[in-house]
Symmetry: C2
Subunit: 422 residues, 2 copies
């Protein structure tokens, strides 16, 4: 019987053309990052449930897919029913990001890794989010991280490698926005936000793109972070509109500006030629674990960021029991893959052999083998009545040429290749 | 605090050297299969639980990891406790093979696929097996399948592409063993095995490698498939030792031999030059869904098969409601990856820049950028007291050369590259 055969909700199949686009883009990202001295690693898609729910994943922890224990007994079910704790039946979960697994990986393997470890992780993650346009329950992240370097050289290497990768992908015109959690702390301090409400206040400021200056200042009053919203609105307005080229001396530095953090941002800006890099003192980035520099890639054509990252010195050491400096950058692969054009020159010539039904199989295979050996990709297609439709179909599938094979075709020298499409 | 930081039981992390080996091998497999006209697709790692437990997965269904529903209520838990059915709390599961997802994918997308669809799937699968040497709970399968071709050309294309892939991987000396389910049916018929016990008898014959002729014939009696074990033992002995070169006329064909199936096997054998292909009438392959030809790759150095497959005409159409001819071959990637040597010439030259602490970051990045642009892979390493240990470490990491960078190094022309190792 025919059945419902769609993939699970919020997840996607990839047909050949789309799969080829994705693998091509991932291959490019891999090779540029590798050239820049990063090393790819892989971890299992599942981690222990307790590790995924250790408080490092922020809101994503709630979105984790839980994997049930094997061999659950009637007693286990009764105990779960009594406690009301469904998660007691799960011992594993699918990762919701690549940072928690990286922290676990580093704790396991640090003795075998260089003192400064530059990792690449290119892999799917899963979040049980409400599916919506452009948001999926399985999606690929491309992360690079530098672990063990407390100096701004780490940020510079990340930005250089990222800019080179975007260039290689043909994604020109991106802007990298920079900020530093220490600068945000200075701003909140200047507004008199109590220490206990700062994390909460940052979450509010992070909504600036969505609810605007008026919305943010109203919410800051509502949560008790500040008392007078007019004043904060003026300050926010100033933050979003000022020209931050302090280095040229145009603007005298405001009292709240952490000058050491700002000097580092300016140095970053100068050291990555060929990229548009902007300072944005209102940039927050969602995760609570950032401790220093934060970055985000924006593209003028899109209302969302294409990726981002920052310094998170407290986190990698969590499973290790001591602090380890770390800094990372994640490209939101699903958001960029649709922007990419695959250049034709980069794939082998693809040829279709259209054969009559009476050509012996051994002959077909010998012809195919000969063309493959000469560097072509080859597909066999049995001749059908509607020949024009066949040619249209293989053209759409990306083939470049075809040749007819009949019972009289003795070897490849007798094939007359004709170009498709064009 | 320090915690238990190993990956989940039976699953593995891959460090840079191992990850590079794996990606290199997978890239080779991908490109050879693509050249032979196969197209890569991808499906989500999860499928609906009902689909994974529809009877197509054989024993693997019991090994599926179950993914819990989101938002399980106290009522759901109480109902599961009452029924004792833990799986009622799961709506999804991790795939245990790539065949069930392929059948689902084909049912969803057949209108967008060519009439004969040659698919590549290279992806992880998960089975909650008891972990043991060489057996993992997450492992990669490399499957090719031809859907929509009922002729032996499908088998020929699969074998040709597989032999070419093994060659490209440097895996020489493999033997491909061939049989046909119709031939096995003939043998069971000649022993008078009742129809209802044939599937069960095949499972027993599949143990020939492990329990030998005596063990198999005893078990066939035990399950009631045959009555006299001495007779069957003699017959089995004959099957495993005979010379099956019937084509040369040495042996007159036994009465049980399905001559049509056998002629097809002989044609397969002749049409794939450069490979050792043997007929083995006792070859079974585990899965119940095979209907015709079955194959297995063996390597003289290993007691297990490196991969296998066969024709399974009844299965792909299961989710579609009608029959679709299909034939597939799966390489057991985890079993072959350790046999492979990566040839050095295939990766870019890798260079380490060993720098003093006082070299400005911008200078380091400019030097790195210049070497990357010339095609090298570049890692920065801060100079340490034990320089010899540093060189040993980067040599072990696969780097080819190093250069010292001091505050006096102005540009790349002043770098003195020295070879490492060798």
């Amino acid at each position: 019987m025919a059945q419902n055969v769609t993939p699970p909700r919020g997840m996607r199949d990839f047909l050949p053309a789309e799969k080829a686009r994705r693998e091509h883009a991932l291959g490019l990202i891999r090779s540029v990052y590798a050239a820049h001295g990063f090393d790819e690693i892989e971890t299992p898609v599942m981690e222990d449930s307790s590790r995924l729910h250790a408080g490092l994943g922020g809101d994503n922890e709630k979105l984790a897919f839980a994997v049930m224990k094997r061999g659950i007994t009637a007693d286990d079910l009764a105990a779960a029913a009594a406690s009301g704790d469904a998660l007691s039946l799960a011992d594993l979960g699918l990762r919701y990001d690549l940072t928690v697994p990286l922290a676990r990986f580093y704790a396991t393997h640090r003795a075998a890794l260089p003192p400064v470890f530059r990792s690449i992780q290119i892999a799917p993650v899963w979040r049980a989010e409400r599916p919506q346009k452009g948001r999926y329950r399985q999606f690929v992240q491309c992360d690079i991280d530098i672990i063990g370097d407390a100096t701004p050289l780490a940020e510079l290497e990340l930005l250089t490698a990222t800019v080179a990768t975007l260039d290689a992908l043909g994604l020109t015109g991106c802007t990298i926005r920079l900020n530093d959690r220490r600068i945000l702390a200075g701003i909140l301090g200047s507004w008199g936000v109590p220490e206990a409400l700062r994390e909460r206040a940052l979450i509010t400021i992070d909504k600036l793109d969505k609810i605007g200056v008026a919305g943010v200042s109203a919410e800051l009053v509502e949560i008790g972070a500040v008392s007078a919203d007019a004043e904060v609105a003026t300050a926010l307005e100033g933050l979003t509109t000022a020209d931050w080229h302090l280095a040229s001396g145009v603007v005298p530095p405001p009292a709240w500006l952490d000058l050491e953090a700002y000097a580092e941002l300016l140095a970053l800006r100068e050291a990555v030629p060929g990229a548009t890099i902007e300072f944005d003192p209102t940039l927050v980035r969602g995760m609570g674990y950032y401790t220093g520099t934060i970055f985000e890639i924006a593209h003028p054509e899109f209302g969302y960021s294409l990726g981002g990252g920052g310094r998170y010195d407290g986190m990698i050491g969590r499973f290790l029991g001591n602090d380890v400096p770390a800094c990372g950058f994640s490209i939101g692969f699903e958001r960029i893959v649709d922007l990419l054009e695959i250049r034709d020159a980069e794939r082998p010539r693809a040829v279709v052999l259209v054969h009559d039904a009476d050509v012996p199989a051994e002959r077909l295979l010998a012809l195919k083998r000969e063309l493959v050996a000469s560097g072509s990709r080859v597909r066999l297609e049995r001749r059908v009545k509607n020949f024009r439709a066949l040619l249209d179909r293989v053209t759409a599938d990306g083939f470049d040429a075809f040749a007819n094979v009949t019972a009289d075709t003795a070897d490849a020298s007798q094939l007359e290749l004709r170009e498709l499409g064009a």
